[in-house]
Subunit: 188 residues, 2 copies
DNA sequence: GTCTATATACGGATAGAC
DNA sequence: GTCTATCCGTATATAGAC
């Protein structure tokens, strides 16, 4: 439904999503979100009962965005190898954000693990969507036996690159490692 | 100096270090540290003026521990390949902590980046100590031209493994990837 | 649906007795 | 050096007028 309330709700979710990414979940206050979204603090609770409710909504919103993106890739690209390279290309396309704030998925999962947050494992769904999609591509390449291991391997490689690029704020390192991953995909 | 005050100071540092690792820096309060260390909140400020001072002391303490460890390895093992494998073995030895809390260096750097903390780049020193030591080992293996790139590559691989092992709380994945890294070192 | 005002808890940090 | 008591800011969350 495209009612005004629904649009406001999604606007809050998008604003919170962005701030959670840039500042961390715990470190982002309702005031931060309210200010950035242009609404009053009090009105906030009309849409979300607690901060955890808001986090849950952000996670669902992210999951949908990831699924939509992968569906689009599937329609545009029939070749699994091309799809794998498109996955790796995220690192290049988002290199400025990654340099500043790391990976939105990895940094959030890391934080929720430390907080021992109730939604810690809900956040894994983001990775799971990528993982099953990657598994499918490796299967199509004939690697049915170790498709899942290859999927997790590629995710871990990407996460390591994002973490180091963020820590060192080094985009050149990121570019080098992306080329390395492209070579790895080519020789599978 | 081994005075009582110095011992207390180091005791606070060690307690804070452990809590920062398990709960995160921002999420750990003075009350948490005081309770865990068995001292009163007020007495805390006799040793450290601010929370940031305490973090700085924790970082220095970590740096010293890393240097001492690497010096020990250098004395025990003359072969650079053996040393590289010993580095990777940290993942296996610490798999339970990594599964629960991730890598102490990577998760702290990730958090400080989000907080835009003044000591964000001080925390990188931990990685820098490993990086220069790894660079030395790759140089000894005859890879003088790309020694630094190999060092960063290995650090990124390790970080990705720790992050995914923590996110999925999956020790089997960690073990598989460690074997992969051992193969990579063997065929350098 | 949106706002202001406020309850309540907890954070870092300080003062000062002992 | 160690403790208790406390200030002050900010956080989540709620109440209730409009």
């Amino acid at each position: 439904m495209g009612t005004k309330a629904d649009l406001n709700r999604q606007h809050i979710i998008d604003t919170a999503d962005n701030l959670f990414y840039r500042q961390g979940f715990d470190h982002t206050s309702f005031s931060d979100i309210a200010d950035a979204a242009g609404i009053a603090r009090g009105n906030f609770y009309y849409y979300f009962k607690t901060k955890d409710d808001l986090l849950a909504a952000v996670l669902l919103s992210r999951n949908k965005a990831i699924k939509d993106m992968l569906d689009g890739w599937d329609k545009q690209m029939p070749d699994p190898r091309q799809r794998l390279n498109r996955y790796v290309q995220i690192l290049t396309n988002c290199q400025h954000e990654i340099k500043e704030f790391g990976c939105p998925m990895g940094s959030l999962c890391t934080e929720l693990a430390k907080l021992r947050h109730a939604l810690q494992f809900n956040a894994n769904d983001m990775f799971e969507i990528f993982r099953s999609w990657l598994r499918e591509q490796f299967s199509l390449l004939g690697r049915r036996d170790d498709a899942d291991q290859l999927a997790l391997h590629l995710i871990a490689r990407s996460q390591g690159i994002a973490l180091v690029a963020n820590t060192y704020q080094d985009a050149a390192f990121l570019e080098r490692e992306v080329k390395e991953l492209n070579r790895w995909i080519a020789q599978l």
